[in-house]
């Protein structure tokens, strides 16, 4: 192992959070900063030839290579876990920009009560409404504290949308259920394609409050506060699982990299697989002193640093802490320990697959161009009469129509699966089919967690991370509720046939749900129940910070990227304003 010259800061992971921290510290201080990214180098220019469904969306060209490292899964602590031999239910990114390169760009804030799920629920419904085995806890931060950072994140990416609550004033046409916003969105809403427009009109006719989905696929040319300019979206329909060839979809490579590349104090090393965070020899100091990594040629390095950020996505953040023996692993039998607790995966499913008489021209659109209905999100409706807590959002997005993925989606009246009858119907319905999706909260439970697998190893011989994860009655009842409402909206849209969601059975790792896996290194108010303090600083190791959705104690119905960016901004401010003057525990 070769020891490298020390640097001030090491950031593990070159996705949204790692590169945002690199940009903030790199431009506001003179600290020497190294970003270690295990995947390939990338830049905006790489995306001129990526609109190929087979290589990118089917063979998952931009994702983590499962042959080298995957995770294992079991449904409860009594089972033997099996490896996910191919990714399907969620898609970890790899390479500079991470999953922020191939996302759809849906950009909603969380509701204010998402940060206080325990106290808000108990206050309104009493503790008896909480499900058995739950592990719900408050975050230790409020929406009001985070609001300015949400605003900065929206300005960084140039988000397109329409405000629904401007400093307490409800605005027609926006999301009237959202928390207060200090300002309007930086750019106006995206264009609304036909299928989404049908949904909007139907939702309105049912008395709901549809609004344009907040989008990082921006509606017009925009220059952000860092001087980075991006063009408006052309609605080519190649967002999800692709990088944007014109940089209209905000990605770390087109939003953060142009600033970072001008800074001499920041360097990025791609192909650097970090295997351990190294504790200080004197453990009583509560410090880490660097990281071990292996490069593409197999050479091993020790990179010393004064300050370390873990920003390597939810599951790898947790795994690196476990492999490095930092903090006490969570044990569901005793409810002791913290690392690995509160694993969640957002509930996400097609509530209604709707079949129409008329063609929809669904090839046109962007990952986030569409309409959202939030009338059943969080606690915006009364739960006294329903058998579940919290809720979710309906979406009718027009995000393109990848033919390999979508050809052969047929209404219940067609039974053929191949041959002439199948072909005739599949040709007819290919562009007459649309999905209303429901994206809902996933509560935290004591027996949904992560630890190290005792059997399966990665390419370098380290244990894989093991997920113990399954749905409970709360998620199943939420899904039933969402399906009924979704089918009602589809009917009001004029659909001739509808396939309702078949219901949540066991957690299914093959059906793509979202890449919104959260928890494992959660933040909170006490070191007994969380890994991080509310500034995302490790409770016991003061020069270690963990960024990203691994810090979320609970999975809200909102897509996580706005919140992870807002939290990263808040941590960056705290480090510049307080920590660098006195490198000690902040809470």
């Amino acid at each position: 192992m070769k020891t490298l010259p020390p640097v001030d800061v090491v950031i593990v992971g070159g996705g949204w959070t790692g590169l945002l921290m690199a940009k903030e510290l790199g431009t506001r201080t003179s600290l020497s900063i190294v970003v270690l990214e295990r995947g390939q180098p990338r830049q905006t220019d790489d995306y001129g030839g990526d609109m190929d469904e087979l290589d990118y969306a089917v063979r998952l060209h931009m994702m983590q290579n499962a042959s080298q490292e995957t995770v294992t899964l079991r449904h409860n602590p009594g089972e033997r876990a099996l490896p996910l031999r191919q990714f399907g239910g969620f898609l970890p990114g790899a390479g500079i920009g991470g999953a922020g390169e191939h996302w759809n760009g849906v950009f909603p804030r969380m509701l204010p009560d998402c940060f206080t799920p325990l106290s808000s629920t108990v206050e309104k419904y009493g503790a008896s409404k909480l499900p058995e085995d739950h592990s719900i806890q408050d975050w230790g931060i409020t929406y009001d504290e985070l609001e300015p950072y949400y605003t900065r994140a929206e300005r960084l990416l140039g988000i397109s949308g329409k405000a629904g609550n401007l400093r307490g004033k409800l605005m027609e046409g926006g999301n009237i259920f959202e928390g207060w916003r200090s300002t309007e969105y930086p750019t106006p809403p995206t264009k609304i394609p036909y299928f989404s427009a049908l949904f909007r009109d139907a939702a309105k006719s049912l008395g709901y409050h549809p609004y344009p989905t907040p989008a990082a696929t921006i509606s017009q040319t925009y220059t952000n506060p860092d001087g980075v300019a991006r063009p408006g979206c052309t609605y080519c329909g190649f967002c999800e699982r692709f990088g944007c060839m014109i940089a209209a979809k905000a990605q770390p490579t087109n939003t953060l990299l142009p600033v970072i590349q001008k800074r001499k104090n920041v360097s990025i090393r791609a192909g650097a697989q970090v295997r351990r965070i190294v504790r200080d020899i004197d453990r009583s100091k509560g410090k880490v002193r660097g990281v071990n990594y292996i490069d593409a040629s197999g050479q091993e390095f020790f990179q010393p640093a004064e300050l370390i950020f873990l920003a390597s996505w939810t599951l790898n953040n947790t795994r690196l802490l476990l492999l490095s023996k930092i903090g006490e692993p969570y044990d569901p039998a005793t409810n002791q320990g913290t690392v690995g607790r509160n694993l969640t995966h957002q509930v996400n499913f097609p509530a209604a697959t709707a079949f129409f008489d008329q063609p929809l021209n669904r090839f046109m659109g962007s990952g986030a161009s569409g309409i959202t209905v939030s009338d059943f999100n969080g606690d915006v409706f009364d739960h006294s009469g329903v058998p579940f807590l919290r809720g979710g959002n309906f979406f009718a997005l027009s995000s393109g129509n990848r033919p390999i993925a979508n050809f052969g989606t047929l209404p219940p009246s067609v039974h053929a699966n191949w041959g002439s009858e199948w072909k005739k119907n599949a040709l007819h319905y290919y562009d007459r089919t649309g999905r209303i999706t429901f994206e809902a909260e996933h509560l935290a439970y004591k027996s949904n967690y992560t630890d190290l697998d005792p059997t399966y190893k990665d390419h370098w011989g380290d244990p894989l991370l093991r997920l113990t994860l399954d749905w409970r009655e709360n998620e199943r009842k939420t899904a039933e509720f969402g399906t009924v409402k979704g089918v009602e909206i589809a009917r009001a849209m004029g659909a001739k046939e509808i396939t309702p969601f078949s219901g949540l059975q066991s957690y299914d790792a093959t059906r793509y749900q979202s890449t919104h896996i959260q928890g494992g290194t959660i933040m909170g108010t006490t070191p007994e129940r969380s890994v991080l303090n509310p500034y995302l600083q490790h409770w016991q190791v003061s020069n270690l910070f963990v960024l990203g959705a691994s810090s979320f104690p609970q999975n809200s119905a909102s897509n996580p990227t706005p919140t992870i960016l807002a939290q990263t901004y808040r941590t960056a401010d705290t480090i510049v304003d307080r920590y660098l003057k006195n490198p000690a525990p902040l809470a």
């Binding site: 899964l73 031999r85 021209n361 699966n417 790792a509």
Partner: protein, 221 residues
């Protein structure tokens, strides 16, 4: 090294105009009456290729609804995929122990690679290409629930609708069938128009749209 195998197709068996992109370069081959096409194979033997072509053609037939797997060159697509990293499980986690009978929600847990699954599946279909269509359909019905059939069905759809750089979707025949325009760079002026009526711009391939020589993953690795 394996003996070089070719798939020989008579013009009569394919009919009309055929366009294949062959051997790392784009070529246009037109099958004239009385002539035959020799397509170099990377994974299949000729007899295997004939079975795959016949089976894909029952899954996605050429019929009154339009061209099918035969015109699109689906067998060429599948041959290349199997010879490439996907066929060898280049990106699949293949560490033991394997649990062959795992519940479906854990995904495919078996040991066999796509190459092995095809080799075995094709053995069981020996002589398939010489059967009458009704007998072929019965044979396929008998194996409908097998892993081999589900791969074949999925690969047939891929070969119909993936970009022509991968060897199928010849002349974008699959995209023309469904009205998909391929990687069309801008729909800005049309995305909020044409409500309720079909808008069908002429398809473009990735090489045409990007002006770049894009290399498919099966050629790179």
């Amino acid at each position: 090294m394996r003996r070089r195998e070719f798939l020989t197709l008579s013009a009569a068996s394919v009919g009309g105009v055929l366009v294949y992109s062959l051997d790392r370069r784009v070529s246009r081959l037109s099958a004239q009456a009385g002539q035959s096409l020799r397509i170099p194979l990377r994974f299949f033997s000729q007899s295997e290729a004939l079975i795959v072509a016949a089976a894909a053609s029952r899954i996605f037939p050429s019929d009154e609804a339009g061209p099918g797997a035969r015109e699109a060159g689906v067998v060429v697509y599948i041959d290349r995929q199997l010879a490439g990293p996907w066929g060898r499980d280049g990106h699949r986690y293949t560490q033991e122990p394997f649990e062959e009978n795992a519940p479906a929600e854990f995904g495919y847990q078996g040991k066999a690679t796509p190459q092995q699954t095809y080799r075995q599946g094709l053995k069981d279909l020996a002589g398939f290409d010489r059967l009458e269509p009704a007998e072929q359909d019965q044979k396929l019905k008998n194996i409908e629930t097998t892993l081999f059939f589900s791969l074949l069905r999925q690969n047939t759809i891929e070969g119909m609708f993936s970009d022509p750089i991968h060897g199928g979707n010849a002349d974008m025949v699959g995209w023309q069938l469904i009205g998909f325009p391929g990687p069309r760079m801008s729909n800005y002026d049309d995305v909020d128009k044409h409500f309720g009526e079909a808008f069908r711009p002429k398809p473009v391939s990735l090489r045409e749209a990007s002006g770049r020589k894009v290399r498919p993953s099966e050629e790179v690795e």
